[in-house]
Symmetry: none
Subunit: 195 residues, 4 copies
DNA sequence: CATGAATGAGAATTCATTCAT
DNA sequence: TATGAATGAATTCTCATTCAT
């Protein structure tokens, strides 16, 4: 319990520092200091920097998926349900920006391949999670029968791109405008068919 | 002349190494060796690793934009023109994967802010470049009047996400399937309105 | 305790190497080797080469001043007291030649200004220390009422010049001859007033 | 002639840069730029950085000695003559501070021994030059029969110490006060014999 | 005579990791 | 379990010197 408490403190500190500085700029010293433990304690709990990083990403993505699942439990007409998927993905993306910033920016090599795989798997799980939701929509006939994995990648790619811009730039659009735009594009596309 | 030749050799080597390893893992030694020049020559031509990196990204993005512009010169019905935009963006993204891999993965901190700005500006130029094309389509009534910058970010985000998956993963979809899916989503959305 | 011991070992090694080679020629590798610690340990204890240098100079000057103070505690007729000041300054200058060689030769630029200030302050403290002694002599009427700071600078300048010559050159005068000459000049001047 | 002109330009630039930055911080690039010649030209005229440095110091000291000789040619009562020696040494020290700053601060090792010898010889020539003047005064009975070389070192040490303080510090004494103090100390000493 | 692009040996500094306590 | 002093391999950057033109 005391044990778990300490691991939690370390993980929180690591999440913060990795998000703020990126993997290579984050120093184990920074993390130890922020977690208020000695540097040795980091290694007592996680065998290396890479492993700690992987734990950060994996844990964070799991939390996000759990939150989305929770929010999506409500019964709604499909189109509202779909809008909810878009809106809560975006909200959680922004809310967990510390994790998603890691998720989207740190694919680079420089981590041992075993650990890199772990991170890639966390990403894939997220894509599959979205993909499953889209597949359900397709099976019920609400969505076009496009490749669901590519569709999920598209959804995540749009969300990622707009959220990153929102987080990085000062002349940012509001999160509501982002939600509306993403929903509009994903549901009806860019082309004006009335013409 | 000899001079420009050597700068080109360095830039090519740098592009390759940065794309393969990412900024922090790329070593100046590697780049020098690949360019077949002495390490000092790197510094004689580019004042720091960051500056060399920025030159790599900026130059690469410029090339991509020039290629897209060139391909888009043809006269076509709008919808074909739009499909062409999608298709050539994806093709160039994949073809210049060395540059785009840098583009999408290396926003992280760890570069002096002046140089980071240079890189961000190159990205913004690319977004504006796409944004301008979409705006033209809107003005002619072919595209819905959505925020053009967000639309451009969406287009780039989708392309980025699918191309990265294509490049990183073994069970990849073909590039044609990617082009079709992206075009389909962007033009008509995911929702099946016939239902 | 073990800690202080190691810092002492480093400081001793640094003093020796800086004195022998000067700041710019002294290599952190040399100092580490001489102190029998790893190079990282140097940086674990002193944040930079400059800081280590400053610690060397400051510590050395403090030791010298403490020794002079100690030797000057005895009660003597003024002129003997003054001769003692000259003689022990010179003896300590020669004995701590490792430090004083640094003191006199390394004002040059190439150290961050904060650290340079630290060193300059150590020098000023030494000048003030001598200056205070001269002032006391003036107040008691034993010394002429010349600007005490300039007088102290003169004393240190003479000692520095003669000791450096003594240390650098082979055809050196004995230290006793140096003490006599300095005392003679400082007490009565060069001019033969009997003529 | 054109030739000599260029060597002069290089020497002037080198003097300035060495004085401002010290030997190790002065870069051949800086000197070349200041002299408005290519770096290769430096090496065409002086075989190495050390040699250029030595030429700078040697030339500068020669100029100073020539100036002092020139000023000392006048016929005056001895004591006035001696005061003139002090005053013109100090004035030239301050005026050629670019050279004297080098003279006094750059004994450190890090120059090949052959060139270091050249510099030491220039310093010795200056000491001998002063020493000869003092010896003449002794022979005529105007000065006490102290070791003339040590006396010269004392004179130069005092001048050096006070001039350096004057040049480095803001709360500086005026050059007149320096001249008076040095003359007073050297002619009559610090001790108040009336007591 | 003059140039300046190219070189590469050399140095300071960083930081993940270890291990004695 | 927890600590933090110690490590040393690894990396960026500097700059005197060379030499083809």
């Amino acid at each position: 319990m005391q044990n778990q408490n300490k691991r939690k403190k370390i993980l929180d500190a690591a999440t913060h520092v990795f998000a703020e500085k990126g993997f290579h700029q984050a120093k184990m010293d920074d993390i130890a200091q922020r977690a208020q433990v000695a540097k040795g304690t980091l290694y007592y709990n996680y065998s290396s920097k890479s492993k700690l990083f992987a734990a950060t990403v994996t844990g964070g993505m799991d939390e996000i998926m759990a939150s989305i699942s929770h929010e999506m439990e409500s019964e709604l007409p499909f189109i509202e349900h779909f809008r909810l998927l878009v809106s809560c993905t975006i909200r959680l993306y922004l809310h967990h920006s510390q994790v998603t910033r890691i998720y989207s920016n740190e694919l680079s090599i420089g981590i041992d391949s075993e650990t890199l795989d772990e991170i890639k798997k966390a990403r894939q799980r997220f894509i599959e999670f979205i993909s499953d939701m889209l597949l359900t929509g397709q099976e019920k006939g609400y969505l076009k029968p496009l490749n669901p994995r590519l569709s999920a990648l598209a959804l995540v790619g749009i969300v990622d791109s707009l959220c990153n811009a929102h987080l990085n730039e000062s002349n940012a659009s509001s999160s509501d405008e982002i939600i509306n735009t993403v929903f509009c594009i994903l549901s009806e596309g860019l082309v004006n068919h009335s013409k």
